[in-house]
């Protein structure tokens, strides 16, 4: 191969690529389903694709230190673009593909991006809209040309044409490329990722090669990830997790990354690929379980009976077997029979039958939900992390898996809880700095390298596991002085299949109240079975029977919250069901689907006031943003319900 990068220290991603192209030359590195067939590229082919793109970028005049934004769904081409940018000593900046034009404009402007590598007409249109205001932006590189035949091509470049251009000028550019590659080191910036930011503008987190590679190395060893493993890349490319799983760990251990055909086919593609290493947010597992439950409710009596018999046994036995605990012979036999008849086929349908290591993170996961997957024999574990840590802060070891903790510190991570209860960590993965934001950097990372997570939590004495209570800044006090931790209550609510999202308020107030979003799939199916007609989310949400059902759920949550020593004051006194689903396009959720509670409180202050002033109904009008950025408005009269609260049972002395 003419690629003359010396394979010495494996301290940059391009060097890992060179090693993989040599050691795993014929092994599949990327798969993508296109035209109904799985196409694949070996590591050797991957290296060639990346090198030609890197030279194409240099032919366009990309200089070391330039920022190159990348926006598209998970496709091999964009993973190559990231490493191609790095090879040319530029900094890749992946963007959320469903971000609206203004959000993109902010990031492109903030990082002074010189080029954007975009997937298709949809993304190109968004960037063209804001291009005039972006002085540093020299052009857009697009992958899929359809629909753009008539576009002014002076600032548009085709991805494949660019690769060809790079190859045409190879004689001149290869020397320069080799020079740039040799100048890179562990301190070189590997990638810049914008945090979704539950408050304020997104911040650019600068991660170095060392951050990414040290993290990948430690965590691959932790879970024995090797070249034979495979993942399905379906989570946003702009999210740090995807960067670590689909690039960091994939490059370190040489495993194969599969890309779905489209967003909608993910479940089918998952089933076909059968990954051995899988990550999904709790929301995904929740949705999957809901769909299983719905299908079981529609199944024949006999099937329901079988499902119940074997799932009850599996719930008892499955987790024990995974943890290597003793199980009786009969139960074991029944579990094996269930595996043949129920759990095995179910796992296969879910596309999870080969999963050896599964992780979930980002939000608390309900114990029943967690146990459901563990009882199927899926080694689902929890981890705790953030962008600033290159994901990993704590994770659960095999055999020490629990629903209510996030595990022990990951390899090479030190953990500390300060007096206020906030969690701090120090690790090789902790970020270099926030881009162009020394203030925030100083606030978050102290000179000794300790990084504040912004989460309140504590370490369990016996097990050494970390437990997270809530965002540190969200933890407050009710007027009577008792502790207020909204997430704690919201999570309990969200464990009900009917509740998709909830927002609890109560800081500096005399009682707690809640906004609730119902889960349209679960409640819709329930409505169908009970002959309740509805035409929209809004109509179903306002149905009195739905209110009754949710009220029962809220009361159960209150009963359970009442038992908590510290947080019994957080019981919900009044609630309403929102007339629209909270949406990232309206700024109510972050792009990673986290609730932005201050924005919601401001936007719906009329509803909040009504919850506190004792009224039974409230009229409201809300602005909504459509996917293409246009605005509309919906209005509704919402009902407010009072809920029973409970006294904490005194334990008999």
């Amino acid at each position: 191969m003419s690629n003359t990068t010396t394979v010495g220290a494996l301290d940059t991603l391009p060097r890992l690529l060179a090693r993989n192209a040599k050691d795993y030359a014929e092994k599949t590195a990327y798969r993508e389903k296109e035209y109904g067939i799985w196409q694949s590229w070996t590591w050797a082919e991957t290296a060639e694709e990346i090198n030609s793109l890197a030279m194409g970028l240099m032919a366009l005049g990309v200089k070391p230190g330039d920022h190159i934004a990348i926006v598209g769904r998970n496709r091999p081409y964009f993973y190559w673009a990231m490493v191609a940018a790095q090879s040319a000593s530029a900094v890749p900046v992946p963007l959320y593909k469903d971000a609206v034009a203004e959000e993109m404009a902010y990031v492109l402007d903030h990082c002074s991006a010189r080029y954007v590598i975009a997937e298709d007409q949809e993304q190109v249109d968004k960037i063209i809209d804001v291009m005039d205001d972006l002085e540093t932006l020299d052009g857009i590189i697009f992958l899929d040309p359809s629909g753009m035949r008539k576009y002014d091509k002076s600032k548009l470049f085709g991805y494949r044409e660019l690769q060809r251009k790079g190859l045409d000028q190879k004689a001149a550019l290869q020397i320069e490329l080799d020079k740039r590659l040799s100048e890179q080191g562990p301190e070189t910036t590997c990638v810049m990722l914008y945090t979704s930011g539950t408050t304020g503008r997104p911040k650019g987190v600068v991660l170095s090669n060392r951050n990414i590679i040290e993290t990948a190395k430690g965590t691959c060893e932790f879970d024995n990830l090797a070249a034979d493993d495979s993942v399905l890349a379906y989570l946003p490319m702009a999210w740090v997790g995807d960067f670590i799983f689909s690039i960091g760990q994939a490059y370190w251990s040489g495993f194969c990354v599969g890309c779905p055909e489209s967003q909608e086919t993910m479940q089918t593609d998952l089933n076909e690929i059968g990954p051995t290493y899988f990550f999904a947010p709790p929301r995904y597992f929740e949705g999957l379980l809901t769909s299983v439950q719905i299908r079981m409710e529609d199944a024949s009596r006999f099937k329901q009976w079988m499902f119940k018999i074997f799932m009850d046994n599996a719930k008892d036995v499955g987790p024990k077997l995974l943890d290597g605990k003793p199980v009786g012979l009969m139960a074991r036999l029944k579990y094996q029979l269930g595996k043949i008849l129920i759990t095995g086929p179910l796992k296969n349908t879910l596309g999870l039958s080969r999963v050896r290591v599964g992780y979930t993170a980002g939000e608390a996961i309900g114990p029943e939900l967690f146990d459901f997957y563990r009882s199927l024999g899926i080694n689902l574990k929890q981890l705790y992390g953030q962008t600033e840590a290159s994901v990993f802060i704590t994770q659960q070891r095999d055999g020490e898996v629990r629903a209510d903790t996030v595990g022990t510190p990951s390899p090479g991570v030190e953990l500390r809880i300060d007096d206020s209860g906030e969690v701090f960590y120090r690790s090789a993965g902790s970020f270099e700095r926030y881009y162009k934001n020394p203030e925030s950097t100083k606030d978050t990372k102290d000179p000794e390298g300790w990084v504040a997570t912004g989460d309140a939590g504590f370490i369990e004495k016996d097990s050494g596991h970390l437990r997270i209570i809530d965002r540190a800044k969200d933890v407050g006090k009710l007027k009577d002085g008792s502790m207020f931790a909204p997430k704690f209550v919201e999570n309990k609510l969200k464990f009900y299949a009917n509740v998709l999202e909830s927002v609890v308020f109560g800081n500096d107030r005399d009682m707690c109240v809640a906004f609730i979003n119902i889960d349209l799939t679960a409640v819709g199916n329930w409505a169908e079975r009970n002959n309740i007609a509805y035409s929209s989310y809004q109509e179903l949400a306002a149905h009195p029977k739905v209110y009754e059902m949710i009220q029962a759920n809220v009361e159960e949550v209150n009963a359970s919250v009442a038992q908590d020593e510290m947080l019994s004051g957080c019981q919900i006194h009044r609630f309403l069901i929102l007339h629209k689903e909270l949406d990232a396009d309206d700024g109510e959720l972050t792009r990673t689907q986290k609730v932005r509670r201050n924005i919601i409180a401001d936007k719906y202050d009329d509803l909040l006031n009504a919850l506190y002033d004792g009224s039974n109904t409230v009229f409201t009008e809300t602005e909504v943003t459509y996917e293409d950025g246009r605005k509309g408005s919906i209005s509704a009269t919402l009902e407010i319900r009072d809920v029973a609260t409970f006294e904490r049972k005194k334990v008999a002395a």
Binding site: K33, Y35, G36, G147, R149, K150, S262, T265
Partner: protein, 271 residues
């Protein structure tokens, strides 16, 4: 207009010579005259719309264009030759594909299979060979499947590839029908009310696909549509019909300012 060989559209495409010319067409069903002495042409690479109120004779016109109806009077010239009455299989082989006002798909078959039926006219191997899965049949199936997969990719319907079309929502069924027509790789594509019964978002999607088909494959398109906004946005030239007669013909702007057309649509006050 017939005198000009080509013209340039508002968005800068050059439209070629006429591929189809209707000369003084009259079509009767018994005593009912559906089309009365209509002449117009469809030029290569253009998006030609036929509009008009209910019962104006638009669908009959489309059936004359694809050869399903043979007019009692007048001539249809296709590719510079006068077209005679044809048998159905001849109609199918002339390079004209169409979609229907009320969707005409095989409800129990998957999206993939439905679109595959659009390849029928391109298949040459015999029934025995196909049944035995022998020789040319296999290679042919693979080649045709490739075309179908490109259509699926183009219309972004990968997720419903294996879903029986009867279970699909209306908007998707319309899209599958367009897919079947495209799979035939037609020179001339006829669309009978492609946006009927769609919501705004579905209409926008469909408009984009129609323009993309025209743009990517250079397919000539003739369409009937009720939604004036859509027609004015995507058509290069418009024929307006009312009670079987042609009352206007020209660019969307010309048609919009034509008094007869305005009267036909809005009605005329009695003096």
């Amino acid at each position: 207009m017939n005198a000009i060989d080509s013209y340039v559209t508002a968005d800068g495409r050059t439209i070629g010579a006429a591929v189809m010319e209707m000369k003084n067409i009259t079509l009767r069903f018994g005593g009912v005259t559906a089309i009365k002495d209509i002449s117009f042409d469809i030029r290569e690479g253009e998006v030609r719309a036929i509009i008009g109120p209910n019962g104006a004779g638009k669908s009959s016109m489309l059936n004359v264009i694809n050869g399903f109806y043979h007019p009692q009077e007048g001539e249809v010239w296709f590719h510079g030759k006068k077209r005679l009455a044809m048998k159905p299989h001849q109609i199918a082989k002339q390079g004209i594909a169409r979609t229907f006002q009320n969707i005409a798909l095989f409800k129990g078959m998957s999206t993939l299979d439905n679109i595959m039926t659009g390849r029928l006219t391109h298949m040459k191997t015999g029934m025995m060979s196909q049944m035995m899965w022998w020789g040319g049949a296999q290679a042919e199936e693979v080649a045709n499947r490739e075309v179908v997969e490109k259509v699926i990719d183009f219309l972004e319907i990968q997720a419903i590839r294996k879903t029986p079309v009867g279970r699909l929502p209306y908007g998707f069924q319309k899209r599958v029908e367009l897919g079947r027509a495209l799979a035939a790789e037609p020179k001339l594509l006829l669309l009978d009310e492609p946006m009927a019964g769609m919501n705004v978002e579905e209409k926008e999607d469909m408009s984009r696909f129609i323009l993309d088909v025209n743009d990517e494959f250079g397919t000539t398109i003739a369409l009937i549509e009720h939604d004036m906004g859509v027609v004015m946005d995507i058509a290069d030239r418009v024929v307006v019909m009312d009670y079987g007669k042609k009352i206007g013909d020209g660019t969307p702007d010309e048609v919009r300012n034509n008094q007869d057309v305005v009267d036909a649509y809005l009605g005329v006050a009695h003096d």
